[in-house]
């Protein structure tokens, strides 16, 4: 089985490929029968209601959780922990209010933080310079010498993004980076991520609640709901028909004059599913 999937991935050249994939904890599947792929450099929105298993997919890709069945390949291989080609920003983390450690030091962790031993002072200086350069690419050089506890939600996300970029990843996994941001900051952050990803040819898998801030940048979306996974272009997946089929309950998608989407009926559908 593994040999077959390796050959297939090499032929198609997909960065991520899932075939009949099921994920879950214990002996319960959170979702199953998922078939999707992600190409190199693609910007993918990962959508779905709370608890649908979006973060679970990231855990599979990080090698923190094995697939319950089916096949998942990343760079043509089974995902493994500590893959330096993957950058990861977990869901908004607690910031230690007693700590005065500068943002720069957190970015530094992304460089050599997973090695044994310690950096000699000259090497540490070198790492700091590299971390400064990465902060520059996320327009956050001004945050370098500020403690994390003083940063706003958007600023924190830029620092975490810099840390993830430090490992020069080919794939970025971002778990709800837009949570708790106002609309203006959402747009700025998405634009920043998109610009960097395109420039450095990094594929992005970004978990979000709402498709609208992502519409200008996503190539495709993966939508997880009701134990099932659908993928495709937003205009093909986020339709009344597709979502009704996915949720197994009536969902209505409305378009406004500026192309924004409103998905109605999800709450009722989830309630119905319980």
């Amino acid at each position: 089985m593994p040999e077959r999937s390796v050959t297939k991935t090499q032929l198609t050249g997909h960065l991520i490929q899932a075939e009949q994939l099921a994920a879950g904890y214990g002996n319960r599947n959170v979702w199953e029968k998922a078939n999707f792929y992600v190409e190199r450099g693609e910007f993918i929105g990962l959508l779905g209601p709370n608890g649908a298993g979006k973060s679970t997919l990231l855990r599979l890709l990080l090698g923190l959780l094995p697939a319950r069945s089916g096949n998942l390949t990343l760079f043509g291989k089974t995902p493994r922990r500590g893959n330096s080609r993957v950058g990861y920003v977990p869901q908004r983390r607690e910031v230690d209010n007693d700590s005065n450690i500068h943002a720069l030091e957190y970015v530094r962790l992304g460089l050599l933080g997973n090695r044994w031993g310690f950096s000699l002072p000259s090497q540490a200086e070198h790492e700091r310079q590299a971390a400064l350069n990465i902060l520059k690419t996320v327009n956050s050089i001004d945050l370098a010498y500020r403690p994390l506890r003083q940063l706003s939600g958007g600023e924190l996300q830029r620092v975490f993004l810099a840390q993830a970029l430090a490992g020069q990843p080919e794939l970025l996994l971002l778990d709800e980076p837009l949570a708790n941001l106002d609309i203006r900051r959402e747009t700025q952050l998405i634009h920043l991520i998109h610009t960097i990803a395109k420039a450095q040819k990094i594929a992005v898998l970004l978990i979000a609640h709402d498709i609208n801030p992502l519409l200008p940048v996503v190539d495709r979306i993966i939508y997880i709901a009701n134990g099932q996974v659908a993928s495709g272009k937003p205009e093909d997946v986020i339709t009344s028909r597709q979502l009704t089929a996915l949720y197994g309950a009536s969902i209505e998608v409305l378009h406004d004059s500026r192309g924004r989407l409103a998905v109605l009926g999800v709450e009722e559908a989830l309630h119905h599913a319980e």
Partner: protein, 287 residues
């Protein structure tokens, strides 16, 4: 005992003479040597204890160690071996509680109380009840033998080597657990290594401040450092400097005043902590 003889020494405002006067006694030399090693180790390990939010676990380990030390006294072996065995066992158990051991306060606290009770029993079974219990609980740095100095030094060097080997990973898992795990660092391995480090550090620190006052060396200096340092390496340095300064100050002053060393060490770190907290209230202080 010792304090009554030392209290008779006259203090002159010539600090160098005072120092020489004190330094002629082997027990004071031993106290300074051991105290310095312990303070350096407590400063280093303590910084990680604080940023990993494991101060309660560290506190508990010292109490668990009390039972071991008391047991060792009872069967007539060096208390430090009893300390090492019990704190290491306790450390492994706490690491086994899994991630977020810091939130397992109830389980840890239950074991802590049981172990302290066990220690009380051992001490009671032993004839020299009061003295032994007192020195385990509050430290007896003025009674350190030259072999204890050597043991402390070896153990101290060992801890420094281990911390140096683990440094980057220890830091990553302490500051950013989720990302560190995704980067392939085993949380369980790091947790076990670190709990063993605390166990060993606690065991040697008990000689200086005793099990009840372990916080003063292992947590307070690091807590101050955490609030001040902008880099982890500076944090460790500040933590070590405070712990060493408080220990030296405590030893020096207790030679001339008839009060316990532990008291002077704990009060000096407490005062430093208070000063920093008060200064922090001024908005410009940490900007």
């Amino acid at each position: 005992m010792l304090s009554s003889t030392t209290a008779s020494s006259n203090f002159h405002w010539n600090l160098w003479l005072d120092f020489q006067n004190m330094w002629q006694y082997a027990f004071m030399q031993h106290a300074f040597e051991t105290g310095t090693v312990v303070a350096v180790i407590a400063g280093i390990v303590g910084y990680f204890v604080v940023i990993r939010r494991l101060s309660f676990a560290a506190h508990a380990l010292s109490h668990i160690g009390f039972a071991g030390a008391a047991g060792a006294v009872l069967i007539n072996i060096n208390p430090i071996f009893g300390l090492l065995v019990f704190t290491s066992g306790g450390g492994l158990a706490i690491a086994g509680l899994g991630r977020r051991a810091s939130s397992r306060d109830i389980q840890i606290g239950t074991v802590l109380a049981f172990m302290l009770g066990l220690g009380v029993l051992f001490i009671n079974l032993y004839k020299g009840y009061a003295t032994e219990a007192y020195s385990l609980l509050f430290g007896e740095i003025l009674g350190i033998s030259s072999s204890d100095v050597i043991i402390t030094l070896i153990v101290g060097l060992l801890i420094i080597v281990v911390v140096a080997m683990l440094y980057r990973r220890l830091l990553f898992t302490s500051l950013d657990e989720d990302v560190a795990e995704a980067k392939g660092i085993s949380m369980l391995t790091m947790s076990i290594c670190f709990m063993l480090l605390i166990a060993v550090a606690t065991s040697i620190a008990v000689q200086v401040v005793g099990v009840l006052l372990i916080f003063a060396l292992l947590v307070t200096p690091a807590a101050v450092a955490q609030r001040l340092a902008r880099r982890p390496s500076t944090g460790i340095l500040i933590s070590v400097v405070i712990a060493v300064a408080a220990t030296w100050f405590g030893l020096f002053i207790s030679y001339y005043l008839p009060y316990p060393v532990s008291f002077f060490i704990t009060s000096s770190v407490f005062i430093i902590y208070l000063i920093v907290r008060v200064l922090e209230l001024r908005p410009s202080f940490l900007a």
